[in-house]
Symmetry: C2
Subunit: 162 residues, 2 copies
């Protein structure tokens, strides 16, 4: 489907990186052929990324390049796993707020006392508790290093690029 | 990876449907080549299914038939979408409690006042509130009919079977 003027992800995708409406260069982890991987804000889950489809589609079965897009999600998850050695990976496509296909790839660590719960319970608290928000935004690795490590792995493993 | 003796999903998969350790026949929606689709307990999300990989793998990049397994997930989501016309589909692979690959496919309906939130916030309340649990277990369509409608769609659309 063509870009939708009212879609926040379509607007981000259309804007040059670093421009007022686009993603910051520092956020962009990888330009896959069918998606863009960006660092997510909740770096308590060190390595957390959001993978945004280039195509505007609301559901997987509407996507013109579904298999390739899903493969990119899996590659990104593998990279996060390889770089940060989580206990488990959570891959989630919700789209309740922004119905343009995107994947949340959250690494979960054995050190997290809430590792058995979906991340959304903690993130709900962050909406009303600034200290919790700050805690969940803060990882053990600086964001610039998260990005570098992921890019190095993706480069070494010949991840596809645009 | 081979079946793991301590894995609840491996045990379910090994047991015949309808046996003490297996899924009930009434729960089983579809036997895909690489996964089994079963009706989920939270039928407030009418059509909610869990898709369990036949292979024991903890992460997608460890799965021997990843692309086919992901395609089965997308086919199941399409079936749920076609049968129950949700506003949005949520596809989630967590595995925090049972680290054997499975997808939660939750349809979200415009009539749900919590449609902008992940389902996990409501499901968390159900842990401590029996009335909320009952509400979330109860859909607008009886489970047997949910199963029939999904099976009819999957049959008509030539979904792959074991």
């Amino acid at each position: 489907m063509n870009p939708q003027p009212d879609c926040p992800f379509c607007r981000k995708l259309a804007a040059p990186p670093g421009s007022a409406n686009g993603w910051a260069e520092a956020e962009i982890v990888w330009q896959f052929p069918h998606s863009v991987a960006v660092l997510g804000p909740w770096q308590f889950f060190t390595g957390y990324c959001v993978l945004v489809s280039r195509e505007h589609a609301t559901e997987l079965h509407h996507h013109s390049h579904r298999a390739a897009f899903l493969n990119e999600m899996s590659t990104l998850a593998e990279a996060i796993g390889a770089c940060f050695k989580p206990h488990k990976l959570n891959c989630e496509s919700l789209g309740n707020l922004v119905p343009h296909l995107h994947w949340h790839v959250f690494p979960r660590f054995a050190s997290d006392p809430e590792r058995l719960n979906p991340v959304w319970l903690a993130l709900e608290r962050a909406k009303i508790d600034p200290a919790e928000k700050l805690r969940l935004e803060t990882g053990t690795v600086p964001p610039a290093e998260v990005k570098t490590r992921l890019r190095d792995w993706l480069t070494a493993n010949h991840a596809p690029t645009l």
